[in-house]
């Protein structure tokens, strides 16, 4: 599933070094074999996505999403990806982060589509159980989103409230990983102002 050099001892050691020196997490580019990314995009484009939106004091969001549970017997790329996500990826990522990680108990794979008007307000993912958030980026190459549209902001407390520590553009075949064990690991996705296709598969390791 992963690009081959990411799973070697040397590859894992390099990622571990990056993880240990980047407290707000890392982005792994070209994370999967290219044909797998293409196949996942094709599959997700064919799946119906429902509009999810909420507006409250704690969090506001608006985006389209599709949930699925990988079939143990299915050989389709999406199910294979899901089995990897809830299986081998835990051990791989545990070696990188030095955290004892487990998959999401409900095995739900959430695919998101941010199009015009989509956003996710400032929040942390803290619930006392989640350890690492992942965002596998599947925004098609060439689907240019002007900064800050659809960009992931990682923020930290500052004298003015919060300030942006890092801004990551929507990625194609990228794997964003960041720790969510604390209550100050704020992040958000900026509103998409044009008709664009920002796709990802996102969730948490526990």
């Amino acid at each position: 599933m992963l690009r081959a050099d990411l799973t070697t001892d040397e590859g894992i050691a390099a990622l571990r070094d990056r993880w240990s020196t980047h407290p707000r997490g890392i982005r792994i580019r070209d994370a999967l074999e290219p044909q797998i990314a293409e196949s996942l995009l094709t599959t997700l484009r064919a799946q119906p996505h429902a509009l999810l939106a909420a507006s409250s004091v704690n969090i506001s969001y608006q985006y389209l999403a599709s949930a699925s549970i990988p079939d143990d017997e299915c050989d389709h790329e999406l199910c294979a990806f899901g089995r990897w996500l809830f299986g081998d990826s835990c051990a791989w990522l545990s070696r990188i982060t030095n955290l004892d990680l487990a998959p999401a108990p409900d095995r739900q794979m959430i695919a998101t589509l941010y199009t015009r008007g989509s956003y996710l307000s400032l929040h942390n993912d803290y619930d006392g159980k989640r350890k690492v958030a992942f965002i596998y980026g599947l925004t098609p190459p060439g689907e240019h989103l002007v900064e800050p549209d659809g960009h992931l902001d990682l923020l930290a407390a500052s004298d003015d409230g919060v300030s942006i520590v890092e801004r990551r553009p929507p990625g194609w075949n990228t794997l964003d990983l960041f720790e969510v064990t604390g209550k100050t690991q704020w992040h958000r996705v900026n509103i998409v102002r044009e008709h664009r296709e920002r796709r990802a598969i996102a969730g948490w390791y526990y």
Binding site: L51, A53, S55, L64, R116, G117, Y119, I191
Partner: protein
């Protein structure tokens, strides 16, 4: 429609006076849009605005992605009862009996509200927008809108044939905005704010109506 809530006009009395719409019709001819401040009888907008937030709005995106709004649709009965506040019946009265002649006087088009007994609450929140639709006239009666800077988005914009903006109106409580359905948009709301309108779609009146 003999009930007392339906008997009297719900539009502001000044709009019923001779010549009241002359300036609005001129504005429509020149700009293709009309804004009527204080369109309803005194106090009615405030009464509806007090009720509207209690109606369950849900996020809605149309199939073509031309619109994301928060919407509530309440089908009102034709006879008044105990279940609905009187102000909603007055809103029905406005939609069915007052708005079509007002629109005709301003635009010259004999149109009718497509679903006059439906209370259609349209809330704009962060991420909401509307792009132009089919023919007819779209009406937004703003119930609750704070001071609304342009940078928030959410403006009603009238477009010319090239797509250029010729008129832009920020939401304003009590105002009724009329725009041609195929040449307007509501720009993306980019801030975590909200405003609420009653929305009416007017189309060609059925023959014999």
């Amino acid at each position: 429609m003999t009930d007392r809530f339906f008997a009297e006009p719900a539009a502001h009395p000044r709009l019923l006076e001779p010549g009241a719409t002359t300036a609005l019709a001129t504005g429509w001819a020149e700009r293709g849009a009309a804004r009527i401040d204080d369109a309803l009888e005194p106090g009615l907008v405030a009464r509806i605005a007090a009720v509207a937030p209690q109606l369950p709005v849900t996020p809605h995106m149309d199939a073509a992605g031309r619109e994301v709004t928060w919407t509530s649709r309440i089908e009102m009965p034709e006879v008044t009862g105990l279940n609905y506040p009187s102000c909603l019946y007055r809103a029905v009265r406005f939609a069915r009996d007052d708005l079509p002649p007002l629109v005709r006087a301003i635009t010259g088009a004999p149109l009718a509200v497509e679903a006059p007994f439906e209370i259609r609450v349209c809330a704009l929140k962060m991420g909401s927008y509307i792009d132009a639709g089919a023919g007819g006239v779209e009406a937004f009666l703003w119930l609750d809108a704070p001071e609304w800077p342009d940078e928030w988005g959410g403006r009603v914009e009238l477009l010319d044939d090239s797509g250029a903006v010729v008129t832009a109106l920020a939401p304003r409580a009590g105002a009724l905005d009329l725009v041609p359905s195929e040449r307007y948009r509501i720009t993306l709301v980019e801030r975590d704010v909200a405003c609420v309108a009653l929305r009416y779609s007017l189309a060609a009146a059925p023959e014999g109506a």
